[in-house]
């Protein structure tokens, strides 16, 4: 029997007490662990939102959001101005078009639904010319969206979280050919395959490839070389938006300001930092809740083990006196009690880790639901217009930010948990150690 094994045996000396302390302590350790996981998960999410958003600035014509509003499109002189701005590493230009049934033989796979019908009845169908459908003899169909772009690698400019070519191939940058990548839903609806021909603006367009962007809206779209779209739609040297890549996040504001002043009131300039702030804020709220709860539960755990140890030491005063009288050092007795405290916390932390692993996801869900509800109401104009939604959607991954959150349980966290438990045990043994040292061995002579 050594000091340590004696301490471990003492941990089970009073079965009922051991059980109740273990249960309470396990709950506080589970709480600490859950908060630690929540913190880590949210931190990772913030990082990924920040990095996926990256250091981009979106430049759109003033007063235009998506397909709504008035204003003039941006021109190639504007493009040149932006390209010349300091700290700009890359500019991706976008031309967007919507093909009505008059413009194309393609049918959108998206059912108009009540929303689309309402939009249509209000005449929100792009061109402003009332389509024949309003006279009631033709069923209204959703227009097909075309994105003209040069750089297929720039997913954020494409407003997609992925671009997977399922058949055929991508077009090359700088291409002027009348070719298109067709979203897989659109292709299916119109029986298109690689090599098929369809018409747009009275031109024959060849299908170069099919893609899957992972969501229904994007899979109903066409992606075409920007020069081709400009040509067939008669908008040479005109652009709907520029996605400006800035060399580093620190220069985001500076570049945004210089572009704004260079283009004066011709353009709206929105940096990714501005649009992510509203998404990151609720995440940061969750993070601070977790930090406080983590500290709270570690403190609670320490107090529990502290009170327990104080109680145990007081109860065993005489025994401590006896150990001193038969030749034990203070150090030996203190280590025996620390090993008892460690043993209690260790059992509790095993139970706590299991409990924490089981409960982390449900707890995180509750946290996230509350926080994202707060967050949504905090974003100005988030509900009214599609414009805002489009802007938010323009940042890939953000739509999924809240949906995709789930706790990351890895071994490092279990390790953290054990370290937390160790900390709790040591803090909890400190005061008792002082009491132990103060026990006068002569007290054993006194009868109770």
């Amino acid at each position: 029997m050594s000091t340590i094994s004696r301490g471990m045996r003492n941990a089970f000396r009073n079965g009922l007490r051991t059980l109740s302390i273990t249960v309470i302590l396990a709950m506080s350790i589970a709480m600490a662990l859950i908060m630690l996981m929540a913190m880590k998960t949210v931190e990772m999410k913030i990082e990924s939102v920040k990095s996926s958003v990256g250091n981009t600035i979106t430049v759109t014509p003033a007063g235009v959001r998506g397909f709504e509003g008035g204003g003039e499109l941006l021109g190639s002189d504007d493009l040149a101005t932006i390209q010349k701005t300091d700290n700009v590493s890359e500019v991706t230009a976008i031309v967007s078009e919507r093909l009505n049934s008059d413009d194309t033989n393609l049918e959108s796979p998206i059912e108009p639904g009540s929303f689309g019908e309402r939009q249509n009845n209000r005449g929100y169908n792009g061109g402003g010319v009332p389509p024949e459908s309003s006279s009631g003899d033709r069923k209204f169909t959703m227009p097909v969206t075309v994105t003209g772009i040069d750089n297929l690698e720039n997913l954020s400019a494409l407003n997609m979280s992925k671009l997977e070519i399922t058949a055929g191939e991508k077009f090359l940058s700088g291409s002027e050919d009348k070719i298109a990548l067709v979203g897989k839903d659109l292709a299916q609806k119109n029986n298109l395959n690689v090599g098929s021909i369809f018409s747009a603006f009275n031109q024959e367009i060849k299908v170069l490839g099919l893609f899957d962007a992972g969501n229904t809206f994007a899979n109903a779209q066409l992606i075409m070389p920007i020069l081709c779209v400009q040509e067939i739609s008669g908008q040479k040297n005109m652009y709907n938006s520029f996605i400006v890549q800035v060399d580093s996040v620190e220069n985001l504001d500076k570049v945004g300001d210089s572009i704004s002043s260079a283009l004066e009131d011709k353009a709206d300039v929105v940096s990714s930092a501005q649009s992510t702030e509203s998404i990151i804020k609720p995440l940061e709220n969750i993070k601070s809740i977790s930090v406080y709860s983590l500290i709270g539960s570690v403190v609670a755990g320490s107090v529990i083990i502290l009170l327990t140890m104080v109680m145990i030491v007081r109860e065993r005063r005489r025994e401590i006196g006896v150990l001193k009288a038969i030749g034990s050092s203070n150090y030996g007795i203190v280590s025996q009690f620390i090993s008892e405290a460690l043993c209690l916390t260790l059992i509790s932390s095993v139970a706590g880790i299991i409990l924490g692993a089981l409960l982390s996801n449900p707890v995180l869900k509750v946290l996230v639901n509350n926080a994202s509800a707060d967050g949504a109401s905090g974003v100005p104009g988030a509900t009214p217009g599609r414009g805002m939604m489009r802007m938010v959607n323009a940042i890939p991954g953000i739509q999924n930010t809240f949906r995709d959150i789930s706790a990351v349980l890895d071994w490092s966290i279990v390790l953290y948990g054990l370290v937390v438990a160790l900390l709790i045990a040591i803090i909890g043994s400190m005061l008792p150690a002082y009491f132990i040292a103060k026990v006068r061995p002569a007290e054993v002579m006194r009868s109770e």
């Binding site: 029997m1 050594s2 004696r6 045996r9 003492n10 000396r13 005489r318 025994e319 006896v322 150990l323 001193k324 009288a325 038969i326 030749g327 034990s328 050092s329 030996g332 006068r440 061995p441 002569a442 054993v444 002579m445 006194r446 009868s447 109770e448």
Partner: protein, 223 residues
């Protein structure tokens, strides 16, 4: 050899000074069986605690084999309690969740003796004080008072101390059992050349002692 010179112990009880032991001096040769008698509150336990280095005297010196216990450092005091002194208490003071054998092994562990030697020595000691092997693994609660006191005597003997200090060792036992315990202590004094200092209220025990010291209001007188 122990020489106690002019030791006193003062306690403060709510501002009032109490001299529990007042200017006590005496000497004892090795292997003596000595009894300390006296009324309750006369200072017997206090004197014993100072002899066993459980408490420091307010004044005076305690010389054991040429070394002054009152001047020892904390580490030396631990060593002194461990190797020179064995304690026997009225209420046995065995560690309740350790077996008889483990209780006897405890001081051997503190002295740094390896596990196997501890075990064989503890077994030998228990047999020596009359605890049969079938009781070695029993917890104190499952032993009678007399058996518990035997175990505590075995524990006191573990590190072959020069002194056994016993505070009313028979106080909780019936007179027959008490007598066998006293016989055991007397026999050990002779066989191990251990000095036994036993505090007692029992006149029949005092009658068997070679030296009897009487405490009265903190003062000592030979009898």
């Amino acid at each position: 050899m122990i020489r106690v010179k002019n030791i006193s112990k003062k306690f403060e009880n709510g501002g009032a000074e109490v001299w529990a032991v007042n200017n006590v001096s005496f000497g004892l040769e090795s292997g003596i069986f000595c009894a300390i008698i006296g009324k309750s509150g006369s200072g017997k336990s206090t004197l014993l605690a100072m002899l066993g280095a459980l408490d420091k005297p307010s004044q005076g010196t305690i010389d054991v084999d040429g070394k002054d216990v009152t001047l020892m450092s904390e580490a030396k005091l631990i060593d002194y309690r461990r190797n020179r002194i064995g304690f026997v208490f009225q209420n046995y003071n065995l560690v309740p969740n350790l077996s008889a054998l483990e209780n006897v092994m405890l001081p051997l562990e503190f002295a740094g003796i390896n596990k196997n030697d501890r075990k064989s020595r503890a077994k030998k000691l228990l047999l020596q004080v009359g605890i049969s092997e079938d009781k070695h693994n029993r917890k104190p609660l499952h032993l009678s008072g007399g058996e518990q006191q035997r175990v505590s005597i075995a524990r006191a003997l573990a590190n072959s101390p020069k002194f056994i200090l016993a505070d009313e060792p028979t106080g909780n036992l019936d007179s027959n059992t008490g007598r066998t315990i006293v016989d055991l202590l007397k026999r050990l004094a002779k066989s191990e050349n251990t000095t036994i200092i036993a505090v007692t209220h029992d006149q029949t025990i005092a009658d068997q002692a070679e030296v009897v010291l009487q405490m009265k209001d903190g003062k000592l007188s030979m009898k």
